[in-house]
Symmetry: C2
């Protein structure tokens, strides 16, 4: 290898740079376009960055902590799993809402859901072991699994309902399956997996564990847990299957994505419970997270009763869905999260995404989520932007030959 070439990076990293992240690249592209055309003329639907502010109460709580708590404790090290009283408060909140039986020894505070997923995967994965995901899926899962030399196995998307294709799921399970990642409400489709789907997944996994004589972990990635429309109540996945590990993030529910705060919950029924908790805490330390940020840990524990403004996203959802429908597009009505899943009017959705850019619309190609032919529209933006963008969508519809 010659000096000073890309080869001096690790091969994995060099490849990662080459492939890039379509979403993150668009985030940067959006900033450049905003400078060129003015931010009000660029309609950036690419990133899941909440547009609603954190709850007003969080300000009070943070200021109160900063003023009154001993800074040596407030900003200091604690157990790698997080402050015990924080874990206790969050466990009690879960128990109240979902009739679970968590206590402080079942939760590990994490650097967001992304941190939580990584330390959970590191704790369980041996090289070559398989992790199944239901397509379409959040593209970062592939990186997370590859970080620990696991193999990502995708199921086929069910293009009728975008519920998991359970027949294909059964086919993909094997002795090598160590985990299944599930994400409902779903990024990118906005679909909520039905109780029937979840019940079946639990049954299939229980049966597979017996058949293969292994433990298979259902890792539930739940950043959108509370973001549900039309009065749908949050569900809790540990009720469907014993070996469920829950990864949560406050990024969306409290509009704190930059703060990197979440947790992993290990129910008592998960096997082997104590080793899982010890292993995930250990990985929190040795992967370099050490612990979740301390001040914000304390703050979220005091904010558990706060709710994000679902009505805000609901209004966006309706306006966007109705507007696109009227223009002749084929959108799926989201049931949760803040993403709208749209069938690409062009066969190659990347071409459609490029055409959209000409109209200063930033959309994410479905292939990023393992499902070409569709695009994701993140409507966690101002309502006003949606209204203003409709003229661009109209021109886009015209250009690709749709008739509203």
């Amino acid at each position: 290898m010659k000096k000073g070439e890309k080869g001096m990076l690790s091969e994995k990293t060099a490849l990662g740079i080459k492939n890039g992240s379509a979403i993150r690249a668009m985030f940067v592209e959006g900033k450049i376009m905003a400078e060129k055309y003015g931010p009000e003329n660029v309609y950036d639907y690419s990133l899941g960055n909440p547009a609603t502010p954190a709850p007003e109460k969080l300000k009070e709580i943070l200021i109160n902590e900063i003023k009154n708590e001993d800074p040596v404790i407030l900003h200091g090290y604690m157990n790698n799993a997080g402050f015990p009283e924080v874990r206790r408060a969050l466990a009690e909140n879960l128990n109240r809402r979902f009739q679970t039986e968590f206590d402080e020894n079942d939760l590990i505070m994490t650097v967001g859901a992304a941190g939580g997923l990584n330390i959970t995967l590191k704790a369980i994965l041996n090289p070559g072991e398989e992790v199944i995901v239901f397509s379409p899926y959040f593209g970062e899962y592939k990186n997370y699994v590859q970080n620990f030399d696991g193999v990502l196995v995708e199921t086929e998307p069910d293009k009728e309902t975008f519920q998991p294709d359970l027949a294909d799921f059964e086919r993909k399970l094997s002795k090598k399956t160590k985990a299944v990642i599930i994400n409902t409400p779903n990024n990118p489709t906005g679909v909520i997996y039905s109780p029937e789907t979840l019940t079946r997944i639990g049954e299939i996994l229980t049966e597979a564990e017996k058949r293969f004589g292994t433990d298979i972990y259902l890792i539930s990635d739940e950043p959108y847990r509370e973001l549900r429309y039309d009065g749908k109540e949050p569900d809790f996945l540990t009720r469907y299957y014993e070996n469920t590990l829950v990864g949560y993030s406050f990024s969306k529910s409290l509009s704190l994505p930059g703060e990197r705060i979440g947790y992993v919950a290990v129910p008592k029924a998960a096997r082997p419970h104590d080793d899982l908790v010890a292993g995930i805490s250990l990985c929190n330390r040795i992967l370099g997270f050490v612990n979740a940020p301390s001040l914000i840990q304390k703050a979220v524990a005091l904010c558990v009763e706060e709710k994000t403004d679902v009505a805000f996203y609901d209004r966006n959802r309706r306006t966007l869905y109705d507007g696109l429908k009227e223009l002749g597009f084929s959108p799926f009505l989201p049931e949760g999260a803040f993403y709208l899943w749209l069938k690409s009017p062009l066969e190659n959705e990347k071409e459609f995404v490029e055409t959209a850019k000409k109209h200063r619309l930033l959309l994410v190609p479905g292939s990023t989520f393992g499902c070409g032919g569709y695009v994701r529209i993140a409507y966690c933006v101002s309502h006003d932007m949606i209204l203003r963008s409709m003229e661009s969508f109209r021109k886009l519809a015209e250009e690709v030959g749709l008739h509203g």
Copy 2:
């Protein structure tokens, strides 16, 4: 593998739990002892948790940010490398102090130095590549290197000076060497590597790069950069060697260890600069950090002129050193950081550590740092605790047969 056994964790993690972290285990043990004997009767010298509060100005800054900054920005996603204005402020501060030429494109904000080291190692390490450390060294380096299937290579300690043994360093360099981790002021010894040592390390590495036709990165882990005694001025390692990557943390300098905030600086001279920055930023994202916590990023950028209370630690250093010396122990006078390195009066220092526990003194065995026969005493504690602990040290000295 049977269900429900430790085997369901990854092999690495199961081994990690078995080996534990002596330091972290003691942190937990200390808490248990404190409950039993009362916190005032346990002398916990095990953890590098700063005893000085964060600067008073940080409170103002945090409160001001929380009150006046748009929460969607303050707590929102930003570029994976961090807020550009934060990176700019820190780069300018470095340039002013060290005559460097950093700009915002050379810094990546990280989840503490531990996060920074991990994403840097991930960015560069292929499986089997070697990382050299100078013994004694912070034991976590071994985990960090193994996270990415690298091989840790230890040099022999120089038990006279605890400067790196450069002859052994030269012997350990090979075509497989990808990086060298350096840590000065040093944890655990408190030694500051001399300009002569650093100059020689730079020369040796430059020569090795030529000989092997590779790039070798000197990764400087600098959480204790500003913690120097007897008027010693901070040094900056990029002046000694081009391929130097600097990992910094505000944990000690601003007493914020729980907040997880630091950065990696990639000087223009490092090769290939742009790919290193892109690769480290990518790894920040895909390893699950995503970005350094947002509020505290903004806060540290406004706090760069603040200084930790070095006089506080200096007083501790003197009291502890003089006290131990008087009791017949053989301490090394620390030049920086807040650790005192003590020759174990018993051949097996673990036995000494156990004996110390009987006197409610928590010390860390040197074998944790790759150097048996010594113990580390972290004196980032209240001065009062040091004074109160002297009676226990006296009894310990007696028990192990020392005569002051």
